[in-house]
Amino acid sequence: AQSVTQLDSHVSVSEGTPVLLRCNYSSSYSPSLFWYVQHPNKGLQLLLKYTSAATLVKGINGFEAEFKKSETSFHLTKPSAHMSDAAEYFCVVSEPPGGSYIPTFGRGTSLIVHP
């Protein structure tokens, strides 16, 4: 069975400082991994995805994530936070056919950006 753990429920940063949102996963297969962002009262939007190609994945709005199989991690980073980055972020794992076809969502990390 697959699972995903977002290690922080809240992360608070100052504008212009780096962002790190941590995600660990568990899967019996070679999973696909995703990060989604949800701004207040909005639907979820895909930030980036890993599907067994390059381990360093670049997404929208300057975000990137690195797939580390040895650490079963897929942490999301951004060099410099903007006020507009304040939102809820979800890490998602899904398995290929043969595994669980229902994506598993983490509980979310709320990113707070201070001026």
Partner: protein
């Protein structure tokens, strides 16, 4: 192109009433998911449709919840005899294939049961 749409955007209903929530997926997407998001919580999987296969209903919390997908396109989630704990945002997502492709989410329906 058009994204996933959901209607209504907000629904207020009295306890005990039935409600229907609608999802229009992106044209050509064969997979469709329903999720529930309670205040400050992550996403709770409800039901999954893939093409003409039987849906995976394993996430439905009770037999008051049901969903159908007509013609492989539009889906309706029905909640009978609503309870206050049903209050949440109901999100629909579609995907062009199974889980190897990202999901495209609708804006959600905010359900409030009074």
């Amino acid at each position: 192109g058009a994204g996933v749409s959901q209607s209504p955007s907000n629904k207020v209903t009295e306890k005990g009433k039935d409600v229907e929530l609608r999802c229009d997926p992106i044209s050509g997407h064969t997979a469709l998911y329903w999720y529930r998001q309670s205040l400050g919580q992550g996403l709770e999987f409800l039901i999954y449709f893939q093409g003409n296969s039987a849906p995976d209903k394993s996430g439905l919390p009770s037999d008051r919840f049901s969903a159908e997908r007509t013609g492989g396109s539009v889906s309706t989630l029905t909640i009978q005899r609503t309870q206050q704990e049903d209050s949440a945002v109901y999100l629909c997502a579609s995907s062009p294939r199974d889980t190897d492709y990202e999901q495209y989410f609708g804006p959600g329906t905010r359900l409030t049961v009074t």
